[in-house]
Amino acid sequence: MRLSCPLCGPRDRREFYYYGSDDYLNRPAPDAQPEAWDDYLHLRDNPAGELKDLWYHELGCGQWLRVTRNTVTHEVLQTELVADRKVIRR
């Protein structure tokens, strides 16, 4: 399994650490209801198909990537830097 790091190019999966769905990017406001935090921390769409998830190029550039991937075929459709997102204010 290989992922293409936007900074480093195609690299073996061994270089990456996996976190989970990119839901982890959508941190609720500090005063959000418990349900919003529950949703953020625990609940997942968990699709059998296209998923955006988070990978850390730990043995490379130290960048977190958002990868668009098919969870059934493992096809990788897109990789982008998490830091390149339009920054969401906490």
Partner: protein, 972 residues
């Protein structure tokens, strides 16, 4: 017997080898199977379940019968295919799964009682009496089952792993693969050509095919010479591509030294990870059998294998051969045998319209209905038009047709499709992205078809690779059509084997259908069809055809089981190469490592690091004596410890303070420059992630310290928080753990020791930090303490670490101090009530450790909302407490705590102990632990129970800070 003038073995290189203790001769280039056949040895194994005598069935890695143990000087290798193992001088092979001998096997009794051992019989019995299962039935079954045996000794062999990268991986070097490799290589692609066999050529050699008007072996030699000369080609023989994985990754096993006499530095095998932009599967096809009654005797083999043995090894397996087939391909075997001077008794062709054959009797529309011969085939019965014909024969070459070797195309869940015309499954295009099946692997069986398919597949790959194809001429070759009329099983008295490896017969498949195990997966799992070492390579398709018949469905409706990696069994040692001994994980050494070892300190694993346990002095008999002395040394004079394993992260930028406020639960923006603060870090779910001290080195610069265990985790966490939530903040950070060597200098004489080395005396308040010059080296000093004594940590660039440690220790010793190790460090911190990951073990909250107030109310931080959840606070939670008891009986970590007088049960458990020590200072046992509502229970006597080490005692609950609760010593 050996046939003169045939074969590619090197007759100038005779070798001697042993089989079951008897010496035989062969030639270099022989496999064990070919050499044994040349010596007229036909009995090579015993079957798995019925222990029936078995001979070799095939000439390749798909062999189900001829599995042997190879005996080395130090170890043995079980389940080696005699058809793959090449002979070398001194090779020592032994038959397996038999006792006392191959010719007489006591468990042959199983064959006599086979009616009671039908598919799945064991699910229906051995249930009574219950205790008999583990004691009697199961041990008997286990002893009878299994095939070869491991020695139980460590495998000391050398194994390797490697990566390779290419534009095009060509799997298989028959006509398709050679043509594909040649086309791609001439066009400039980086090509890897891998073949399982020792020689390139595949069926070109095995079938002795004419290519381009010359003998196939000449054509192969020419192509090989050209490929070998090209710098962009890597030829890998004896290399089986074992699996297709994601994104163009393939696993491959190279038999580096298995065909040679063992040498010290000769690897046995190498497991390759090949990353290929494109791949061509040119793996050919595997011949399949026909399930006729008693079709398992030694001497019954694949018709194609007869040609392989003759043309590659110059061996005829018998004197009088018969052929039984349902397709044209087996005719070539008959012709080759006759040409080699072997008698062909008859060709039995199940097709009513079977073509005739010059000079050979052909029984068209006939079937073999039974066979005879105990340890070797002697005679067969053929039924033709209601009439039985007896044929004396010592070899029966069978061909039930050909299955494309499409396994790799299914490794990523692809399903093959059924082709009625070929009576076979063919690969689903695109099932593995970037992999194209071509030639026989794709159902094209003529040589011309294969050459053309290999060429075309290479052109397609070149186009994907954007390489301009060079011109390649297709050589001329036969282009015979493949004619077959499916025949899977022959009815009749007696058992008809499908899976020879697991002794599965047509009756077993029928029984599974009768019992409604009628899905193909149920049938497989109930009968064990296809689960033997050959994974049903020559039997799965026939088995599902028999199942389809039994259940009244078509073959496509019945479906197939899944082909999974590896294509051939791969040794654990090859896949795990490098893991042996200390190779399993990296080793991290402190700069003081050698200095500690010089002083006799036992080094212990701390994560990936090695740290000194204690520093024994002459006369100290136990670790405790050393530890107690080191503890008192720190409390009374001064001790030096290497603390460089702690994670260090240099954080800089205009928003550094703001960032730390966000990742720590407490405030860091208010920390003055030149000061250090203890910080508590939470996970987003509110539990404690880590703790440590962070120093403010400048207005926009901090140095964070993490625990040893969490150094990597915290770095990853910081990167995430920054990039995900505040990428626009002006903050950057980097791990500097390995850039600095850092030493704790602790004890009442710490300042004296340091002042003896420094140009200017130390003048730091508690929790202060400053730059430092020591022996001309720029460093840092922090006044922090993990022992409760006046303590400093001195940091210098790593390259000065060892020198500084040696100097510090030497000077400490002149004033009654010295080095201390992990054991003393642990005692000192327990006495002071400081936590480690023994306490913050991932299920602990700030509330539990009495630090809820450190979650600042003034700001948001990671984990703040999570920590407010009702389950994370409250009296029902176990809170950290101190525990103490006087006397000899020690506390033990891992023990559970109970209210005095309660019965011992899970429900009654009030908590547990996390850390314990003997305190030489307080002369009692101390512990840290967690107790329900513990902070309200100081002074209570609780019962500590440890069933594991038989400890049961009463101890007192107290505040976790045992030593200097007001911190007077720290601030001295």
């Amino acid at each position: 017997m050996r046939i003169g003038g045939k074969g590619l073995i090197d007759r100038t290189k005779p070798v001697k080898f042993l089989f079951d203790g008897r010496a035989y001769g062969g030639y270099r280039g022989d496999t064990l199977a070919s050499a044994l056949l040349a010596n007229d040895v036909r009995l090579m194994g015993r079957s798995f379940k019925y222990h029936r005598p078995r001979g070799v069935l095939t000439a390749g890695s798909e062999e189900p019968n001829a599995l042997v143990e190879i005996i080395g000087t130090k170890n043995q290798t079980p389940n080696v295919r005699a058809t793959v193992q090449e002979v070398f001088e001194g090779l020592n092979a032994r038959s397996q799964n038999r006792w006392p001998s191959l010719r007489f096997d006591a468990l042959g009794i199983n064959d006599a009682v086979s009616p009671f051992l039908s598919a799945g019989f064991y699910y229906k019995t051995f249930m009574w009496p219950r205790a008999f299962w583990e004691r009697i039935y199961e041990p008997l079954i286990r002893r009878a089952a299994g095939l070869g045996s491991l020695s139980g000794r460590h495998d000391e062999g050398l194994y390797e792993k490697a990566y390779a990268f290419c534009d095009l991986l060509v799997i298989g070097s028959g006509p398709t693969g050679l043509m594909a490799a040649l086309t791609a290589a001439r066009s400039g692609a980086d090509v890897i050509l891998a073949d399982e066999e020792a020689r390139l050529g595949g069926r070109v050699l095995a079938d002795d095919i004419m290519v381009g008007g010359k003998p196939g072996s000449d054509w192969v030699a020419e192509v090989k010479a050209e490929l070998t000369a090209l710098p962009n080609v890597r030829i890998m023989t004896r290399t089986t591509v074992t699996g297709a994985y994601d994104h163009g990754t393939y696993g491959a096993l190279e038999r580096v030294g298995l065909h040679l006499r063992a040498r010290a530095n000769l690897p046995r095998e190498c497991f390759w990870r090949i990353v290929a932009k494109r791949a061509i599967l040119a793996s050919g096809a595997l011949e399949r059998g026909i399930a006729f009654p008693m079709n398992d005797r030694p001497g019954i083999m694949m018709a194609g294998a007869l040609r392989s043995y003759l043309n590659i090894y110059g061996v005829a397996p018998a004197k009088r051969v018969t052929i039984f087939a349902n397709n044209d391909s087996a005719r070539a075997s008959a012709r080759a045998m006759i040409k080699a001077g072997v008698t062909v008794a008859a060709i039995i062709d199940s097709r009513a319209d079977a073509p005739m054959e010059d000079g050979t009797i052909v029984h068209a529309g006939a079937q073999v209905t039974t066979t005879r011969g105990r340890l070797a085939l002697r005679e067969i019965t053929v039924r033709k038009g209601g009439e039985d014909i007896l044929i004396e024969t010592d070899c029966l070459g069978v061909s039930g047709g050909w299955n494309p070797t499409l396994h790799l195309t299914c490794h990523m869940n692809g399903r093959p499709s059924w082709c009625e015309e070929r009576a076979a499954f063919v690969p689903q295009p695109g099932a593995v992205p970037g992999l194209f099946a071509a030639g026989a692997a794709n159902g094209t069986f003529s040589t011309h078809g294969c050459l053309a398919a290999g060429h075309a597949a290479a052109l397609a790959a070149l186009s994907d690779l954007e390489l301009r194809p060079a011109s390649v001429m297709l050589p001329e070759a036969e282009d015979a059509p493949y004619r077959i009329a499916a025949l899977w099983a022959v009815a009749g008295k007696g058992r008809a084997w499908l899976d020879l490896g697991n002794d599965v017969t047509t009756k077993d498949v029928a029984l599974s259908a009768q019992e409604n195990f009628s899905s193909v997966e149920h049938m497989k799992r109930y009968t064990t069809q296809g689960m033997a070492p050959d994974q049903g390579k020559s039997s799965n398709v026939a088995a599902l055809a028999v199942l389809a018949d039994a259940t009244g469905r078509s073959i496509p409706e019945t479906g197939t089981t899944t082909y999974r990696p590896p294509f051939v069994p791969v040794s654990i040692a090859a896949l795990g190469a490098g893991g042996r001994g200390t190779g399993f994980a990296p080793q991290r050494f402190l700069t003081s490592d050698q200095a500690s070892r010089d002083r006799g300190a036992p080094m212990i694993e701390a994560g990936l690091w090695y740290r000194p346990s204690y520093f024994p002095k002459p006369g100290e008999a136990t670790w405790r004596e050393s530890c107690d002395r080191e503890v008192m040394m720190v409390r009374e004079t001064v001790g030096v410890a290497d603390v460089s394993t702690l994670g260090k992260i240099d954080i800089q930028g205009a928003d550094a303070a703001r960032f730390l406020d966000f990742v720590y639960s407490n405030m860091f923006s208010t920390l003055p420059v030149g000061r250090v603060r203890y910080g508590l870090m939470l996970r987003e779910d509110g539990f404690v992630l880590d703790d440590g001290t962070t120093a403010r080195l400048g207005e926009q610069r901090y140095l964070m310290t993490t625990t040893t265990a969490a150094a990597g985790l915290v770095m990853r966490h910081l990167d995430f928080v920054h990039q995900a939530f505040c990428a626009d903040w002006q903050v950057r950070f980097i791990s500097v753990t390995e850039a600095w060597a850092q030493f704790a200098v602790a004890g009442p004489q710490a300042r004296v020791l340091l002042n003896s080395m420094l140009d200017e005396p130390v003048d730091l308040p508690f929790m202060g930090c400053a730059p430092l010059r020591i022996g001309g080296v720029e460093g840092r000093i922090f006044r922090i303490s993990f022992s409760g004594e006046e303590g400093y940590e001195v940091a210098v660039p790593t390259r000065y670490g060892e020198a500084l440690f040696r100097d510090l220790v030497a000077r400490a010793e002149t004033i009654g101090g010295g080095p201390y190790g992990m054991e003393a460090l642990n005692v000192l911190r327990i006495e002071k009530g400081f936590i480690t990951h023994a306490e913050i073990h991932g299920r602990v909250t700030a509330f539990d450790i009495g630090m809820n107030k450190m979650i600042s109310a003034k700001k948001d931080c990671i984990g703040k909302a999570g920590a407010l959840r009702p389950g994370l606070v409250g009296p029902e939670r176990e809170q950290m407490v101190g525990l103490r008891v006087s006397g000899d009986k020690g506390l033990v970590a891992g023990a559970h705590l109970f209210t005095h007088g309660d019965a011992i049960s899970r429900v009654a458990s009030q908590g547990y102990v996390t850390s314990v020590c003997w305190s030489p200072m307080l002369n009692q046992w101390l512990g840290l632990g967690f107790l329900k509502n513990g902070r309200a229970r100081h002074g209570e006597k609780v019962r500590l129970v440890d069933h594991m080490r038989d400890v049961d005692l009463i101890c007192e609950v107290c505040d976790p800070v045992f030593h200097d609760p007001n911190g007077e010593k720290l601030r001295a």
